[in-house]
């Protein structure tokens, strides 16, 4: 049984008559010790889908799913109290903006031990020792003397390390990292990713890595989900997706990387933007931007392929990168 099982998860905003589907019936699963990458451009529903797993979508958003199981427990059926006991302890999350993710009014120690206090209790002395241990684990030197410092005294990379320490404080089984490196500079990005993967392997956690950094996903993820306009358009093992993309959107994403523009004068780009609430096309969401679109694409596309390697398209691309 997988750690997290999501079936037909939908998140809607707006009125009941004319809802806007930020996440549109997505299904996936995460196993223990597995790194799943979710990629897609801004506005494709990556963050909203992970927030809905954490139960952080408040009014006016509506979350529905056929199945949203964590470790065999149906998250949507739990009471708010039972759910609070799971989030934070068994599922943890790291955010995009390390500088604003720490409360400016409290010391590092207070914030890390908050999770410990809520979920594990223990004496104050034990919590302090655990804090030092956690800070050392995430590679903060001189941890003992750093307990009493405030977030404004930390750099971005250090803040992100503290955030990671907070997230792993209760030894979660699943860690959701929502663009953990976007706000950091390149050298720190590499360090933070190494740290995350290290911890993930040590503790055999499931890790959902949300990012638009394709190179990062290619390097560390086992499986990849490509999202576009709230839908998962392609899933598969990382290697397969990056060597033989089957969906035109994935292909366009890969083509837009600077590496694939070698020898060209201009970078390849996919024209247009992700459709918003009022300009959603009928049928395939990508059809207005897709170079291979035809009349058929005005209908909702089918999901082709076997479990583990699926693509949501009428005419998936073959190994030469041309539509079949």
């Amino acid at each position: 049984m997988s750690l997290l099982e999501v079936k037909n998860l939908t998140v809607e905003f707006g009125s009941n008559n004319n809802p806007f589907r930020a996440v549109d019936s997505i299904s996936y699963s995460v196993n223990e010790g597995e790194v799943v990458g979710i990629v897609g451009e801004s506005g494709s529903g990556k963050s909203v889908s992970s927030l809905s797993i954490m139960g952080l979508i408040g009014y006016p958003g509506r979350v529905s799913a056929d199945e949203l199981c964590f470790n065999g427990k149906d998250l949507l059926a739990l009471s708010e109290k039972e759910r609070r006991a799971i989030t934070g302890a068994d599922i943890a999350m790291i955010f995009q903006e390390p500088m604003s993710s720490l409360n400016p009014c409290y010391t590092v120690e207070f914030q890390i031990s908050e999770a410990l206090k809520i979920h594990q209790g223990g004496s104050k002395k034990w919590r302090r020792e655990r804090c030092i241990e956690l800070l050392e684990m995430v590679g903060i030197p001189d941890a003992k003397n750093r307990l009493k410092i405030y977030p404004h005294q930390l750099s971005g990379g250090m803040s992100q390390r503290v955030m990671i320490a907070m997230a792993i404080a209760c030894d979660p089984k699943l860690l959701i990292a929502d663009e953990p490196t976007t706000a950091l500079d390149v050298t720190i990005q590499a360090q933070i990713v190494d740290l995350l993967i290290d911890l993930q392997q040590q503790k055999n956690m499931g890790l959902i890595l949300i990012t638009h950094d394709l190179a990062l996903v290619a390097e560390v993820a086992h499986r990849v989900l490509v999202m576009y306009a709230g839908q998962i358009v392609e899933t598969g093992l990382a290697d397969e997706i990056f060597t033989h993309p089957q969906h035109p959107y994935t292909q366009a994403l890969l083509n837009s990387l600077p590496e694939s523009a070698h020898g060209k004068e201009r970078l390849d780009a996919l024209g247009g933007v992700v459709p918003g609430a009022f300009d959603r096309p009928t049928g395939c969401m990508l059809s207005p931007r897709c170079p291979y679109a035809n009349e058929k694409c005005q209908q909702p596309p089918p999901i082709l392929g076997e479990p583990g390697r699926q693509v949501k398209c009428f005419t998936p691309l073959d190994k030469t990168g041309k539509p079949q």
Binding site: M54, L56, R84, G88, M93, Y106, E114, A115, I118, Y150
Partner: protein
């Protein structure tokens, strides 16, 4: 190498300022605010030790010295430094005891309205929806009425006394705190650290009072100091209208009111209470200004 190490050691030696030291650094840049603070400290000490410092009892009437002018004016006596009023009570002693009343009322009003205002504002900002509508519309109604008129109406219902006047001023100044807290709560609510706290599993009460409230405090502290001066002013106004402290309690506003008929003959009976009200209110406003400069990071360079 060792030389290099020494050098870095000397460079990094200036110690980090604690938040309090940093606050004081910015606060002391503003000389008006420091002057206000000093005046407030002096007046507070006077108020606390009024029994010891005051040369006379505030309610004892010296029948041989009615409307005696201040000491430095012709006909004045050093026995009564700031003169006496129409029934022969020492002005200086009455002002000192009046300071006690004014500051006490100020403290009471600010504490109560801040406490209730923060709780209501937090609830409105945190839960939104129907709760917010109910709280905020009530606040809007209160703000739609002239505050002094509303205070007078409340005192008229409850009956004139110092305590009732304080209650009335508390109710009247509540809306400002509610609005301020709600606005800052809403701004803070969407920040990542609140979501992070939610992820950790914090309950709503913990989120409201431990996670969010400390981050909303800066504007509230400023509003509270400014509210202090408004409370003193409103109290004086109510006293002047006979709705606050009743004679013979020494209160700055009622001192003004009872001496009004002698304003032509004896300038000192109205000047000194008025001056004290003016200076105290000014001191609190100056200090509030300095606090805002020191606490609002946007104004720091």
């Amino acid at each position: 190498m060792s030389e290099l190490n020494q050098q870095t050691a000397t460079i990094s030696s200036p110690a980090m300022k604690t938040p309090l030291q940093e606050f004081w650094y910015y606060f002391s840049q503003n000389s008006g605010a420091v002057a206000g603070l000093i005046f407030i400290i002096i007046i507070s000490i006077t108020a606390i030790f009024a029994d010891v410092i005051a040369p006379h009892s505030p309610i004892e009437q010296y029948r041989d010295a009615l409307l005696m002018p201040p000491a430095w004016v012709e006909g004045g006596s050093w026995r009564y430094l700031l003169g006496t009023d129409d029934v022969g009570r020492d002005m200086l002693s009455r002002l000192m005891h009046g300071a006690r009343l004014s500051l006490m009322i100020g403290t009471l009003v600010v504490t109560l309205s801040l406490g209730f205002g923060v709780v209501l504002g937090l609830i409105a900002g945190f839960y939104r929806g129907v709760v917010e509508v109910i709280i905020m519309r009530c606040v809007d109604i209160m703000l739609a009425m002239p505050s002094l008129l509303l205070a007078i109406a409340i005192v008229a219902i409850l009956g004139p006394s110092v305590f009732n006047a304080a209650m009335a001023i508390t109710i009247v100044s509540l809306p400002h705190y509610v609005r301020l807290t709600r606005a800052s709560t809403m701004a803070e609510l969407n920040k990542d650290y609140v979501i992070a706290s939610k992820v950790v599993g914090a309950r709503p009460l913990r989120l409201m009072f431990i996670t969010i409230l400390p981050n909303c405090l800066a504007p509230l502290i400023v509003q509270a100091t400014l509210g202090f001066s408004t409370a003193i002013l409103d109290m004086a106004a109510l006293g002047f209208l006979g709705m606050g402290a009743q004679p013979p309690t020494p209160e700055w506003g009622s001192m003004l009111a009872s001496a009004l008929q002698f304003v032509q003959r004896a300038w000192w009976v109205v000047t000194f209470p008025g001056l004290f009200i003016l200076l105290t209110v000014l001191a609190f406003n100056l200090m509030g200004d300095g606090l805002r400069d020191a606490l609002d990071p946007k104004l720091k360079d």
